[in-house]
């Protein structure tokens, strides 16, 4: 509600209250007083009327004085002669002159001298009614004493009675004492005459039996209770007063009724009405004057100030002019000063804001600020617009910017949303902890080509002890990621090539060829199943197909053939769906059949590409495939044939042939060791140790006799090296060694064949302890040859046997196994430095012994 309206309402209410209260006072007091006066006046009138009536009755009584103080009358009382009656008592004298309705002369002793009454209807005098004479008694009208007037009522009639003692004209008592009793009926004429005298509208209730109005009944009740009078407001125009007159016995005989017009009151009401109208008009004028004065003195300056404030709020410069010379002018002056100050500060803020925006835009990072609702507020840097690909960032939810493709179940987005909630609800002191739980990076856009890698950093803006906003500084690391990925891909490709080459050189090529062959067979079978029973594959068919796809996937993974693995996975998924359907009956490939065929064809292509890759990775090109094609059984058969030729005494060329076959049948050292490179670290880990295997001389050919037996002894020697030689990482660190132990497996070739060394940089052999244990068990110990004790069954330096060593039976078996191939084992160890076990051909060993002997 505007101030103008409030003022209007206030003034109207105030004036209404003033007028209302005045009216109430005027109407209440004045009218009350008027009514009171009206009542009093009516009471007075009733008293006057009572007095007049009594006076009239007395006058009536007095009008008979010439009769009661008359000698003839005194004589008539004594003698009762007819002559007196004939000359004096007749209808004319009674009815017309004296207005008497009853005329009774009676002696005080109770002797009735004469009694008559006027019959108005017949215009005649007739004997007095006994009901009247009943009152001419010593208690009634013959009451002794002076003359008196009073009222006497009969049913339906009221009479004014007079009782006067009869004297002689000189005032003395006549011969007999008696009284003249007369009565005159109070009729309408009498009342009319009285109204003429009093100028009042009068009424008489002549008897109690007369039917009465409700008001009159109330009056009678009040009067009978002793009140002298009773006043009632009969209507708006009339007020009535009631009084009573007793009969000669003192009982209520007549109720006087005076009705008066309420002219004074009506006039009073008129005055009050005019007063009210005057007050209303005055109030209206007062209202208008007040509003005009308020509007001119207060509302107009306020309106100007309000307009100025609005302009200021819109960011416009505002100046208010008020020349009232009062507080409003001072207020306008202050307002103008405030407006100037605000504009000045806004200019400064704008400049600062522009400066910050320029700084933001100049930075390489995407910078945005957001509030507790997670939406961007304020200025965002140019880089932010560029990175997030939006022209407007204000109001956008940060979750949508960082995780644009996330659905409601995305874990990253869910975690970020949870972080947002926590970030703004935790106290400022907890910010460092909260910051650690924020996402560190985000990936925008499609994979590979369109993707943007962001490194995220969040900083809190604290105000009034609370985190009001948080700034996100997102560094675009896409280029860095691209370079890293490129490098990783190069390294991965290089690694794959190395692995492929290693596998090929280590005999993996045969496995690979077998894999290619078996994979082709699987794909053939898969294709056949799909061709033969495309619309009704049995559960067994689908299961078989699924297993082929599953195995293909697993084997492709072993050979790092990513494309084949991918195709096989899709194939497996489709077949998995079919398998689920097949459990409920026949599976129908339906629309998926074409896709299955496509996938089988794609798998063949991927397989061919993989084969090509392996060939390219081989240092000897496609020749590697030729080597793979050699069947060792054929070579073995050739070797046997050569032996037979030797025995049959063939020429010298057969020795050359034998050497050739021997070389052909030999296997590269690397092929025999390939599996150990992966296994040894796992074995070490199970012992709580760390170790790596180094293989040297991978290309050294190992004669078939040794190659067939070498795997077991090497396994044992390597496990021994881990169990007895390599120390626990913490022990190695304490000894100043690398925590990761080193085991070397090397092969060299000399004229007599390969020389194989298994060496570790571990704790070495405790030959002293071994010799002590041997002696304790009763074995002979040759000084300087203590190392030979490692081959003695039942001797071991391991305190607790484990799954790899420690029971003292292994080295003997190793020696026996190698001796059967013509090789012997030598052990060389330096405590805390190394243990070296050498496998060499016996012939070579004999030569060395002979050299030592000579």
């Amino acid at each position: 509600m505007s101030l103008r309206r409030k003022t209007l309402v206030f003034v109207i209410l105030a004036v209404a209250a003033l007028v209302g209260s005045t009216l109430w006072v005027v109407d209440g007091l004045v009218m009350h007083e008027l009514t009171q006066a009206e009542h009093e006046e009516t009471s007075r009138k009733v008293a006057d009327l009572r007095s007049i009536v009594q006076r009239c009755m007395q006058e009536y009584s007095d009008s008979w004085s010439d009769w009661t103080e008359w000698d003839d009358m005194a004589q008539f009382l004594a003698d009762g002669k007819q002559s007196f009656l004939d000359s004096n008592v007749n209808l004319a004298s009674m009815a017309e002159q004296k207005h008497a309705d009853f005329f009774v002369v009676e002696r005080n002793d109770g002797t009735l001298v004469y009694a008559t009454q006027v019959n108005a209807k017949r215009d005649a005098l007739e004997p007095c009614a006994s009901e009247f004479l009943a009152h001419v008694t010593s208690r009634g009208l013959l009451r002794p004493g002076e003359s008196f007037a009073g009222l006497l009522t009969f049913p339906g009639r009221t009479y004014c009675v007079s009782s006067r003692p009869i004297h002689k004209s000189d005032g003395t008592q006549g011969p007999v004492a008696g009284r003249l009793v007369t009565a005159r009926r109070i009729d309408d004429a009498w009342i009319h005459r009285l109204e003429g005298l009093t100028f009042l509208q009068l009424g008489f209730s002549r008897t109690l039996e007369t039917p009465m109005e409700e008001e009159e009944l109330a009056a009678r009740e009040a009067l009978s209770a002793g009140d002298l009078d009773f006043v009632a407001e009969t209507s708006e125009e009339l007020i009535s007063g009631y009084g009573q007159l007793p009969d000669i016995y003192g009982k209520t005989a007549v109720v006087l009724h005076v009705s008066r017009g309420r002219n004074v009151r009506a006039r009073g009401k008129q005055i009050v009405s005019w007063t009210m109208i005057s007050l209303l008009c005055g109030g209206l004028v007062l209202c208008m004057l007040s509003i005009w004065a308020t509007g001119r003195g207060a509302l107009r300056p306020l309106q100007r100030l309000l307009s100025g404030t609005h302009k200021l709020r819109r960011g416009e410069h505002s100046h208010v002019v008020i020349k009232s010379g009062d507080e409003f002018e001072a207020l306008a002056h202050d307002f103008n000063q405030m407006s100037d100050a605000i504009c000045e500060r806004e200019e400064a803020l704008k400049s600062a804001h522009e400066e910050i925006a320029r700084l933001f835009d100049g930075m390489a990072e995407a910078i945005v600020a957001f509030g507790p609702d997670g939406r961007v507020t304020g200025h965002a840097s140019r880089k932010a617009h560029e990175v997030f690909g939006r022209s407007t960032l204000a109001g956008v939810a940060l979750r949508d910017l960082l995780y644009p493709s996330a659905d409601e179940y995305d874990i990253e987005a869910e975690a970020f949303q949870a972080w947002l909630t926590v970030a703004f609800t935790q106290p400022v002191e907890a910010w460092e902890e909260v910051k650690q739980l924020a996402p560190r990076k985000a990936l925008l856009g499609a994979r590979q080509a369109g993707e943007t890698h962001l490194a995220l950093e969040f900083r809190a803006l604290v105000q009034d002890g609370r985190i009001q906003r948080v700034i996100l500084i997102a560094a675009d690391e896409t280029e860095k990621h691209r370079l890293l990925r490129q490098q990783a891909e190069l390294e991965s490709a290089h690694e794959r090539q190395l692995v492929a080459m290693r596998k090929l050189l280590a005999g993996g090529a045969q496995i690979f060829v077998n894999f290619v062959r078996s994979s082709h067979e699987r794909l053939d079978e898969l294709g056949a199943l799909l061709r033969e029973r495309p619309e009704a594959l049995s559960p067994a068919d689908v299961e078989l197909a699924f297993r082929h796809a599953h195995t293909l996937k697993g084997e492709a993974r072993v050979f790092d053939i990513e494309r084949l693995e991918q195709v096989s996975r899709e194939l497996e998924e489709l077949l998995c769906e079919l398998r689920d359907e097949a459990r409920g009956g026949k599976a129908r490939a339906g629309a998926r059949l074409a896709r299955l065929h496509e996938l089988v064809a794609a798998a063949r292509t991927a397989l061919a590409e993989a084969q090509e890759l392996f060939v390219r990775a081989s240092p000897i090109g496609e020749a590697i495939l030729d080597q793979m094609a050699v069947r060792r059984t054929d070579v073995q058969a050739l070797e046997e044939l050569t032996g037979e030729l030797e025995r049959s005494g063939a020429g010298p060329l057969v020795h050359v042939l034998r050497d050739l076959v021997e070389r052909l049948h030999s296997r590269p050292f690397g092929e025999l060791c390939a599996a150990f490179a992966e296994r040894l670290p796992l074995w070490a880990e199970k012992l709580g140790k760390r170790a790596q295997l180094e293989i040297e001389g991978r290309d050294v050919p190992i004669p078939p006799a040794l190659a067939r037996r070498l795997s077991g002894p090497l396994t044992h020697l390597l496990r021994n090296a881990l169990s007895h030689g390599i120390e626990l990482p913490e022990q190695r660190e304490a000894l100043g060694k690398d925590p990761c132990g080193r085991v070397r497996l090397s092969a060299t070739l000399d004229e007599q064949g390969p020389l194989i060394v298994v060496e570790d940089d571990g704790a070495g052999l405790d030959l002293v302890a071994l010799a002590r244990k041997a002696r304790a068990l009763g074995h002979a110990v040759v000084e300087g040859e203590e190392w030979r004790l490692v081959f003695v069954a039942g001797l071991s330096t391991a305190c607790v046997p484990d799954e790899y060593s420690g029971r003292g039976v292994g080295m003997g078996a190793v020696q026996t196994e190698l001796e059967s191939a013509g090789y012997e084992v030598e052990v060389d160890s330096v405590p805390a430095r190394h243990t070296r076990i050498t496998l060499r051909h016996k012939f070579c060993s004999l030569q060395r012994s002979s050299r030592r002997t000579s």
Binding site: D407, Y409, D410, I411, E412, E414, A415, F416, A418, W419, T421, V422, T425, Q426, A430, E433, V434, L437, P439, R557, R569, E573
Partner: protein, 129 residues
């Protein structure tokens, strides 16, 4: 450090995941059957469950239902399916999983996916008074 339960029928996968996550500083409990999983959860320390989908004679969904019925884990323990099956997350959520972690074959991918999960768990702890 988080106590993680990993259920899988492949010993190789169990070893591999346990080794990787242990190196990251977490306590990893491995199980290949329902009974083993229940035994791992007995002391109530498990905070995160990672369950393989394809298992002999059962699947991850069934297994989780059994775990929930018999071990009655508290509501703050989160369970994720670890699968190659790239279904809608909604499908797994219907079966009371908190989500799915895609089995991409390599451990870095697993760690990368677990990272927001672990953050979410820490945030939940932090948010609680």
């Amino acid at each position: 450090m988080t106590c993680i339960l990993y259920v899988d029928d492949s010993q190789t996968q169990l070893d591999c995941v346990q080794k990787t996550l242990t190196e990251k500083g977490h306590e990893v409990r491995i199980a290949s059957t329902l009974d083993e999983a229940l035994a791992c959860m007995e002391d109530g320390k498990v905070e995160l469950g990672l369950i393989d989908f394809h298992m002999p004679g059962t699947d991850g969904v069934q297994l989780l239902q059994e775990i929930r019925a018999r071990a009655n884990p508290p509501s703050n323990v989160r369970f994720y399916i670890y699968t190659t099956d790239n279904k809608e997350q909604r499908d797994y959520r219907k079966h009371t999983f908190h989500g799915a972690i895609l089995r991409k074959g390599d451990m870095p991918a697993l760690i990368a996916q677990l990272e927001p999960v672990l953050r979410l768990m820490q945030l939940t702890k932090l948010a609680k008074p």
